[in-house]
Amino acid sequence: MKHLGRIAATAAIALGALAGTAQAQQSTVDAVKAKGFVQCGVNTGLAGFSAPDSQGVWKGLDVDMCRGVAAAVFGDASKVRYTGLTAQQRFTALQSGEVDILARNTTWTLQRDTSLGLDFVAVNFYDGQGFMVKNSLNVKSAKELNGATVCVQPGTTTELNLADYFRANRMQFKPVVIEKMEEVVAAYLAGRCDAYTTDMSGLASTRSAQGANASQHLILPDVISKEPLGPAVRHGDNKWADIVRWTFNVMVEAEEMGLTSANIDSKMNDPNPGIQRLVGKTGDMGKQLGLENNWSYNIIKQVGNYGESYERNIKPIGLERGVNELWSKGGIMYAPPVR
């Protein structure tokens, strides 16, 4: 009986403790400032987007997104901690507050934007889904894949597009669905599947990771979907969403204006009023976001403009700018006016 009494008492204490957690939601930016770093949800390892290098330093286009936000908030791009997430874990990680930003080659779709409790704030890479096959299979187009076995990761738009594509073209296929990237790629390489499907960028990254054997794999020309990849934050946190969105826009605007991490210090006194605003000499854009006025200078100085980030991260995996070129140069990358 004594025992039961103790359990009841413990339960009552636990209840009290729980009741304490039900408080008004504060903006992520205040929590981030209080803890001193940005917790960023990234891919567990996708060369070009986010992957630790040989020294264990995270590098990539998505990583630069996080570093840009840290530069804007703290004036120090290194104040980021990374959480590697699989496709299946990513949304719960953001919903539950485990990460502050989800920058993990994640496609912006209506369903995700409306019912997952998150908001997409930008598109940092315009992608599309494709297929990779071994040369020895002698297939030149996705239309020839009727009856094929296809390796795919679960919880992705990839998985849905794959089913849609074969249905629309009245073709049959067998999926092999494995969550872990290394495992699914290993299954494809071992010949368990005829084709591996994911975003074109992911295919390029995987193919280039094969080193000398890369030439044995062919990325088919068919692009079967639109995959606008971009960072997301928790739904309804507009203050934080604004910071992430405009961090990205600054990187694009800087490229349009020809500002780079290398030349920004020499452009501090450039008479161009747009540049004056972007380096924080005039205006109060920082204050409007609740940040220091040199927020945009810090982003450009420490992380660089979008073009620099692309050059550094995506070029090495063998992808040209393509549609991700600036709108003024024939692409669709376009930032609303930063002013």
Binding site: S115, L116, G117, A148, T149, G155, V177
Partner: protein, 398 residues
């Protein structure tokens, strides 16, 4: 002493005093407090979660079950296509889990029993081999073993175009094992029914034979009768159906084999892993069960002139089973729960499909709730059945 009626032995119930110093009142009060406390916590957690989800615009509820799933599933024992609902997808997952669990339980029991008896063998080599098997299998994590088997299968077997064909119509490749299966003919259906009738008849006759033996001492050749019924009846049905020999052969068409029956590498690896791993534990249970039967029992049985096989069947095993059944049930539960490691190697079990569903819909809480419900139902059913069987076997104490 058995003649004293029970009620007259019990002391008269004490007058009810509503005081906390009364142990009876106290126990009721505490139990109400605990149950109330737990209910409060649950209510609090649920309502808090709902409010937070509402505030963050996370969808909730089970409406999604009727929506189109949109993703494909490689293995399904009922018809399924991406145009079907999430509900159907989940049912496919449950059936896949049950299939692997049932097959795993049957095979692990057979293998485990053989190895357990093997460890007790007089032959030194057999005993040692069985001991090494148990030690190795028990001490490697199951996940590692699954990856091992899966890699063994897909890395070592050639692609479908170079498939190995050990027997005509049987193909081994990285796409799995393809075998010819009986084609479309009504006779096969009749054979199945005949087989079922044979099994039922065998059960009835064995009952009758036991009763007769108990009453008159006359024995009945049960083994031969069973073989005749279970194998003979289907054979008769097959002959009566015109002895059809149509087989559905697997053949390479395009990228893969079409037709015939097949077992995928994912299924094979999972089954192999679960069976070989669990068999090690079952072997130990069987061994300890047999050792638990006192030597005097076997000696007494041989003194009565029972043959070794009858000794084992009539004296040792019935007593060993009492020791074996309870831990065996927990191994069966383990197989069922461990089958959720299927996600690692891509077999579409309930966890894998519910995970995909919760990811595509974003309804994590509902998804997890479904997984818990399925496992709870399956596990409780196994436990209830096991306990019932255990009770039946237990010593009837007089």
């Amino acid at each position: 002493m058995a003649s004293i009626p029970r009620s007259s032995r019990r002391p008269a119930p004490p007058a009810v005093r509503l005081s906390l110093s009364d142990p009876f009142v106290r126990s009721i009060v505490y139990q109400i407090l605990v149950v109330g406390g737990v209910a409060l916590i649950i209510w609090y957690l649920v309502s808090n979660t709902m409010t937070n989800m509402e505030a963050r615009k996370i969808a909730s509820g089970f409406d999604f079950l009727n929506r189109e799933a949109g993703f494909a599933i490689s293995e399904h024992s009922i018809d399924y296509s991406p145009a079907d609902t999430y509900f159907r997808a989940l049912v496919v997952g449950v059936l896949n889990t049950l299939l692997i669990a049932v097959l795993g339980i049957v095979l692990a029991t057979i293998l485990g029993t053989v190895i357990g008896i093997g460890r007790l063998a007089k032959n030194w080599l057999i005993a040692k081999v069985c001991s090494v098997y148990v030690e190795v299998m028990r001490n490697l994590p199951l996940a590692v073993q699954l990856f091992f088997w899966y890699a063994m299968i897909i890395e070592n077997l050639p692609g479908p175009r170079q498939a190995i064909s050990p027997l005509p119509g049987v193909f081994l490749s990285s796409r799995g094992i393809m075998v010819p299966v009986p084609g479309d003919d009504p006779a096969y259906g009749w054979m199945l029914i005949a087989c079922l009738i044979g099994v039922v008849a065998t059960l009835l006759i064995s009952r009758w034979a036991r009763a007769r033996q108990a009453a008159t001492g006359q024995q009945f050749p049960m083994m031969r009768a069973a073989a005749g019924l279970i194998l003979g009846l289907p054979l008769l049905a097959w002959l009566a159906g015109g002895a059809p020999t149509t087989l559905d052969w697997p053949e390479l068409r395009g990228f893969n084999f079409q037709g015939g029956g097949s077992m995928s590498p994912e299924f094979a690896a999972l089954l192999l892993g679960l069976v070989t791993y669990t068999a090690a534990f079952i072997a130990e249970i069987v061994r300890s069960g047999i050792l638990a039967v006192s030597h005097g029992q076997t000696e007494a049985a041989s003194a009565l002139g029972l043959r070794r096989s009858l000794n084992l069947r009539l004296v040792v095993l019935p007593q060993a089973l009492r020791v074996i059944i309870p831990p065996m049930i927990s191994q069966y539960l383990n197989i069922t729960k461990n089958s959720s490691l299927a996600v690692l190697i891509g077999y579409p079990d309930i966890v894998s499909i519910a995970n995909t569903a919760l990811n595509q819909t974003g309804q994590a809480i509902e998804g997890i709730a479904i997984i818990m419900l399925v496992y709870l139902t399956v596990s409780l059913s196994i436990a209830v059945f096991g306990n019932w069987y255990n009770k039946r076997l237990a010593l009837v104490e007089r």
